[in-house]
Subunit: 190 residues, 2 copies
């Protein structure tokens, strides 16, 4: 698939078919992930590929708990309509775990260490595009409490679960969500 087509036609998928995704395909998606840039080429990512039903169920329960809690905090009642069944449906979940020690020079900066998380997000974008080029749908998902995900997946407290990527065959044809034109978001200083 052409790069620009991939970027323009990729969209977030929230309904998946149960069809299995083979390990070679998953590895190809992860190999695309690690080609992202990172501070001092520190490659601060690790991947936990989850297909075990009991673990998926625990992650689903955590997302439900988070939604209930967010409704309480925010008063956003529409949130109760936000279903996270894709956590059970998608045949593959990949948790991307970042290492805050691999964050480059921002470890010395006042506004905190975020470089390693930016690198993980860049890796995830590569993964989403790669999945799309392989005719798979994907979702960049962050609705979990980091400590709860550490507990479920036995991630040491020194590492940060940055996001979870759902991957699988889309149930329906995918239509890209609308975006504001980039020109409305841009100023030129010439």
């Amino acid at each position: 698939m052409d790069l620009f087509s991939a970027i323009e036609t990729r969209t977030s998928c929230r309904q998946f078919l149960p069809d299995a995704v083979d390990r070679e395909t998953i590895d190809r998606i992860l190999a695309a992930g690690v080609r992202a840039p990172s501070p001092l080429n520190s490659q601060p990512w690790q991947f936990i590929v989850i297909r075990a039903p009991a673990i998926r169920q625990a992650i689903y329960a955590e997302a439900q708990r988070c939604i209930a809690w967010a409704i309480e905090q925010s008063g956003w009642k529409w949130l109760s309509k936000y279903k996270t069944d894709f956590l059970l449906q998608a045949p593959v979940l990949v948790v991307v775990v970042g290492d805050p020690k691999k964050t480059g020079m921002d470890m010395f900066q006042e506004e905190g260490t975020v470089g390693y998380q930016l690198a993980c997000a860049a890796a995830i974008q590569n993964m989403l595009l790669a999945a799309h080029a392989l005719d798979l749908g994907s979702l960049f998902f962050t609705l979990f409490d980091k400590n709860q995900l550490r507990r479920i997946l036995d991630i040491p407290k020194e590492k940060t679960p940055v996001a979870l990527v759902c991957i699988g065959k889309p149930k329906d044809p995918q239509n890209p969500a609308p975006r504001k034109d980039s020109k409305e978001k841009t100023v030129y200083l010439d």
Copy 2:
């Protein structure tokens, strides 16, 4: 360019030719950026495209100040060899500014609001790939103090300059930097 080729052959460029990059090309790169996913499709990015020499000089001076300060904090003397001349050489600098209010539900989470920055990083990865497919080099750069960049570019304190992307014709042929195999970074929970 094929998506997988783009992902595999893109690399960070630190030496640029002075050749101008036209506005249509810049707009095409930014249009790729806005196709990234974001929390609740909030599109938390804005772009400041800088070609003015005086502003580039101020950003260069800030990077130099940051390096001197990081050496003092870290004792990493090798840092003194890290040149940031690309901030003066690259014909285009794009500062990607994020809006912390557009961060989705993580605004209620204990570990703070980072969702909008992850979305900006995903947008930047699209931009790096788009630049590469258009035969341009690029660099994802974050060595600045956010408050100093706010001051130089008149960015309100409610917004966050997430990163700066240098774009231009590469001076030399680009060889991708090595990566650890993704399999070394992956565990499967089946």
